[in-house]
């Protein structure tokens, strides 16, 4: 079992997502440290992209704010090099194929390894195109996090079998963003995953409340939350660290006491 999977093994996972550079990279650094302190299992960090195809309006707007503020891939790497002096919480990038490809895939993953990024989630690189990233991921020891969707059906085991780090179960059809209700049969997807791998599997897309997080943690290994946090960043700007930390504490508490 690799480093990221080992760090998550045997515990309930709460994985917050924020967009790097929203509202600025100094705040992003503070957010990472505060969320680590609040008990997050790992932090997913979005490298902003001009056209984030899998994102709903909240994260789209955050990406555009970050880019307008001058955030670049190089500046994100530099910020992580700084944050790594203060925390060893697992860090995972979420970005799209083009920022990686255009940066130079080998160079991108080499920088990930240098600054201490443990994995990447790239929504527009599916299983069929995994060769685009897998060489560099293996060379530098960075995990390609696999996404499994409600439509994956007979693909689930094929996808899960080679998953590294953790598995991202997409709760619902559509893009990221808060939903009042999740109707997908997560338990059955989770069982299919478990039949082929021990890699932890957490659920994301549409989760906002502690009740939803607890419900997801009951039928899987935990919850991933993006839009609800990014909304706080948009609302409070540079003053978002406190409210985000409080929110993350409540969600960590919810997944850890999900049985109740």
């Amino acid at each position: 079992m690799n480093k990221l999977a080992a760090a998550l093994q045997g515990k309930k996972v709460f994985a917050p997502f924020i967009t790097a550079g929203d509202p600025d990279l100094e705040t992003t650094k503070k957010l990472i440290l505060a969320m680590a302190e609040a008990g997050a299992s790992l932090v997913e960090l979005g490298i902003p992209f001009s056209d984030p195809m899998a994102e709903g309006p909240v994260i789209q707007a955050a990406d555009l704010r970050a880019l307008a503020g001058g955030c670049t891939t190089d500046k994100v790497f530099a910020m992580i090099a700084e944050v790594r002096k203060e925390t060893d919480i697992p860090l995972v990038f979420l970005t799209y194929a083009n920022p990686i490809f255009h940066y130079g895939t080998d160079r991108f993953y080499r920088r990930c390894a240098e600054v201490g990024v443990d994995g990447t989630i790239v929504p527009d690189v599916p299983y069929e195109e995994r060769a685009e990233l897998d060489g560099a991921c293996a060379k530098y020891g960075v995990d390609r996090i696999v996404m499994i969707a409600p439509t994956s059906e007979d693909r689930i085991q094929m996808l899960a079998r080679e998953a590294k780090g953790y598995i991202y179960i997409v709760s619902s059809l559509g893009v990221t963003g808060v939903r009042s209700e999740i109707t997908t049969d997560i338990a059955s997807i989770y069982q299919k995953i478990r039949s082929v791998t021990d890699t932890p599997a957490a659920v994301g897309f549409g989760i906002a409340t502690p009740e939803q997080a607890a419900a997801m943690a009951r039928v899987s290994d935990g919850a991933i939350v993006g839009s609800a946090i990014v909304k706080l960043c948009g609302q409070y700007g540079r003053d978002c660290v406190e409210p985000v930390a409080a929110y993350v504490r409540s969600m960590v508490d919810a997944v850890n006491h999900c049985a109740g």
Partner: protein
Amino acid sequence: MSKGRFGIHGGQYIPETLMNAVQELEAAYERYKDDPEFLAELQWLYHDYANRPSMLYYAEKMTKDLGGAKIYLKREDLNHTGAHKINNVLGQCLLAQRMGKKHVIAETGAGQHGVATATVAALLGMECTVYMGAEDTKRQALNVFRMELLGAKVVPVTTGTATLKDAVNEALRVWTARVEDTYYVIGSVMGPHPYPEMVREFQKVIGREVKAQLLEREGRLPDALLACVGGGSNAMGLFYDFIPDKTVRLIGVEAAGRGIDTPETAATIACGSEGIFHGMKSLFLQDQYGQIAPVYSLSAGLDYPGIGPEHAYLHDIGRADYVAATDQEAVDAFLYLSRTEGIIPAIESAHAVAYAMKLAPTLPKDKILVVNLSGRGDKDVAAIARYLGRDLHE
């Protein structure tokens, strides 16, 4: 290397949520593309509904005025709905019907693909939603109302630059949300496999007809084919049957906007670089960090930061040449063709006419050029008036 490659270009770069839908489409396309019954129905619709074959018109006045090569115009503008877009939409909607899909979605730039999709959805009794950049709904207000008349719902897209690329983003997002009952009719030779190949197959009727029509008229192949290129479906449709005919020059004309030496351009081959976006590896206009550039052209149909992967391949191997025409050159050609031949071309097609006007005088009189008049200009009249400083109170 994965499926659907043209050299290094193409592929299937889409979220997992869409993968089963795209594979289902691939299977349906493979099953029906050579099916005699499917092809007979498509042929009948091409002929009786879309008014194919479109005429190949010898533009004698233009030829004499320019004083060089003989110019033929392929009259895709005379198709039902006024552009080449109907060829592809008829093919895809027949396929969607056989796949049991009840709802079709489409992106549109100038509105021609949206109108064609709304039209065929009405014909086949399907629900239709069209995503269109909010900027473009203003530039092409007439086409918005036309789609609504046909029973489609038009959704203005306000994200990003509010133009064609954002309409594609939104259509892809909506498709992930309604993937089970929805078919996405992509309007150009772009997107994930099988779209680039499938759209080219439904458009290649253009070049096939040109070949037969010119052989009958002139007893020989043309010397050059010219077509405007945004995503590149009318160009790919014209070029495809001539790719093995090495004596025929293939020329794609991109939209230079205010010039390829300015940031306000949409000329992807001239100014772009390798990238992965909208489901495909191809050439894109982007910055040093791979952020997609906000592109510009007067023409809403060419205002796109990428190009179909097969064009990128034809460029790589040197089989096709890509040049660019500015807004001003396209407007000049728009006015010229209107006054010289009594044909008002779509502003997109006017880019190809503009380059023909440059090329023809440099060639001897025994050479033959075929220009794809991919659409008609009725939709552009108000925008051209604005460009020329007149307000029509539309």
